[in-house]
Symmetry: C3
Subunit: 266 residues, 3 copies
């Protein structure tokens, strides 16, 4: 099987380890996990129970600090996670449970990622950022350093969160996105913009200013073009937004509805 | 060579298999094919004759069904195909002959792909879609589920075909692109738009409405800005569109011309 | 360790070679280099001293010529380079010293790349292009064939340099970007545009015409919206442009200032 597994690694019960896999010193792997072929898990990485690392991924990848001879914090990934093949996750990040990625994803150091987060294929999370619980990022999303994304935000393909108002400079300022906001395909959020709850940034919008609750913004540069409460689902004919009242799949209020779930937590 | 080749695989004559390659049960590989280093070919995949799978690719990749313990249809790829290194193609798709990909491509399950199709580097085909013969997709194209692309369509870099009119929702509706249409770099096609034959979607267009035959649309949101029949080639000075009369490379009418080829088929 | 190292390769002193690495005939690796796990270095590649090739990369990847049975020039990469994991660099390019890439980068044949160049994660350099010293390309940049980028240019994420005025055609014409220009996130440069020194193409701009010195252009299609000399840094309150007077990190004038460095060279 040609594996290279450190004797200093702690591997749980009932763990499958594939052909040509490398597991370095100090790695901890929870019970009932699956590590597929050609995976590299670098020094000190901790992986929760029932997690799956698909083929050709590199988990705990070296930061620049490694090549400079200094140390980085280890990577932790929570239980029940699924990292799809070809993904690269650096050391020095903390990621919650029920994490999922697509393929060829890159996640750099100092990312603080909550529970039940998903990141789509070839997305690129530049590190030094904060991503709340149940944030859903689709394919090819780019999250610049200093970004703050609150829980229950949806980010669709080819969206970019930028951070440098006068590039190139050393004075970065991140985007802040509040809960339940939706950023549609191909939108670019300029440095420091504040996206409020329940708003919708339309596909292709170039957002240069703050977006307020319930606003729909679109265009280049983006302007207010509607109110989310006026938009109807094309099949049901009912109001589509705020989406928390109309969409439940894989959300904590699934089968309960948002209101009943909210009341239950209060 | 450290290969892991199932005895249940059927490997044709004169097949090259590289270092550290994995070939699982039930795989069929046609004669005169080439499987390069570190390739993984998963269970049941069928690959036609004279095909090349470049290094580090995963062919027949597990869908979610695998991890849930259920089964998916196997993957078939036709003869004379070239899959470039680092690509990931799921099980559960049917792909024709003379198929070509760039690098790090992802193609998900339930994709129905014709003959002589090419897909560029880091493109992401989300599955459950239909792509006709001789469709050319350049780098970093994103094809959402439910998309229908008819034969002889050109799609240039960073184009996205979306599918959810009120994201997030469960009511997806795909884009339909008719034959001989051209979608230029960075265009975003909103859910359900119908792109007719011979039209041209300009670079960066955000397309919110149907586009009619011969129209050139551009801008955000896209509007009609010209007629394709007015556009001239900057070198030859001749009409550039409909392109089928002016471009032949790798098309079935190569060296014959479109009209002669068309008549020959009638 | 399962390595496959040709006896015809010339490997310098103090070179680390990782698990499952393949090094083909005629490869030359400079002293004090590091070749990580699962790397493939193909025939004839020359790599300078103190270079690092991270895991899963393919260096000197086959061009189409290989499969057609013809030959391509070998690849050369200068000293002190760092190629991040998952990258694919074709044979037939010449790359200078202090070259850096992000992850999953693709660089095709006939690229002529200077010294101190960096290319971000999943960027895609299509080959047959010229990239000057100290050019900085961020993540997911696409450089079409025939592009010419002079020294000290900054290109931010999701920028595309196109090359076909009437796609599809055989009459390509590249973009030319002069020194000290900045192309911000998501801009698309149409074929043949000339971007002069010190100008700024704003995020999301669709550039259809030449951009003159000091101009700021934005919108779809892009128009002149300001003069770079009017833009101030949001923290320091000082002029931000031309950036060469205000930004030094990793530039040859670091710690000297641009003017002093310029005078020193005259």
């Amino acid at each position: 099987m040609n594996q290279l597994i450190s004797e200093q690694a702690k591997i749980g019960k009932n763990v499958f380890i594939g052909h040509n896999t490398i597991i370095e010193d100090g790695v901890v792997i929870g019970d009932d996990s699956r590590i597929e072929e050609n995976v590299i898990i670098r020094k000190g990485t901790e992986l929760g129970e029932r997690s799956i690392i698909c083929a050709n991924s590199i988990i705990g990848e070296h930061t620049m600090a490694f090549y400079n001879g200094t140390e980085e914090e280890p990577l932790t990934i929570g239980s029940d996670s699924l990292i799809r093949s070809g993904s690269i996750i650096y050391t020095g990040s903390r990621i919650g449970h029920h994490f999922q990625t697509g393929h060829q994803v890159t996640i750099r150091e100092k990312s603080r990622i909550g529970n039940h987060v998903s990141v789509g294929t070839i997305s690129d999370i530049q590190g030094d950022c904060e991503i709340g619980d149940y944030v859903r990022m689709h394919s090819n999303v780019h999250i610049g350093q200093k970004s703050v994304i609150k829980p229950y935000v949806w980010i669709f393909p080819y969206v970019v969160l930028t951070n440098d108002p006068t590039p190139p400079s050393e004075e970065l300022v991140g985007v802040v996105i509040e809960s339940f906001a939706i950023i549609a395909t191909g939108a670019i959020l300029l440095p420091g913009v504040h996206i409020e709850e329940d708003c919708l940034v339309a596909a292709g919008a170039i957002v240069t200013k703050d977006v307020h609750q319930y606003e729909v913004v679109g265009g280049n540069p983006a302007k207010v073009i509607s109110d989310v409460r006026k938009i109807k689902n094309h099949v049901t004919g009912e109001a589509a937004y705020p989406w928390k009242y109309h969409f439940e799949r894989n959300m904590p209020w699934e089968s309960l509805g948002y209101n009943a779930w909210k009341i239950g937590r209060e």
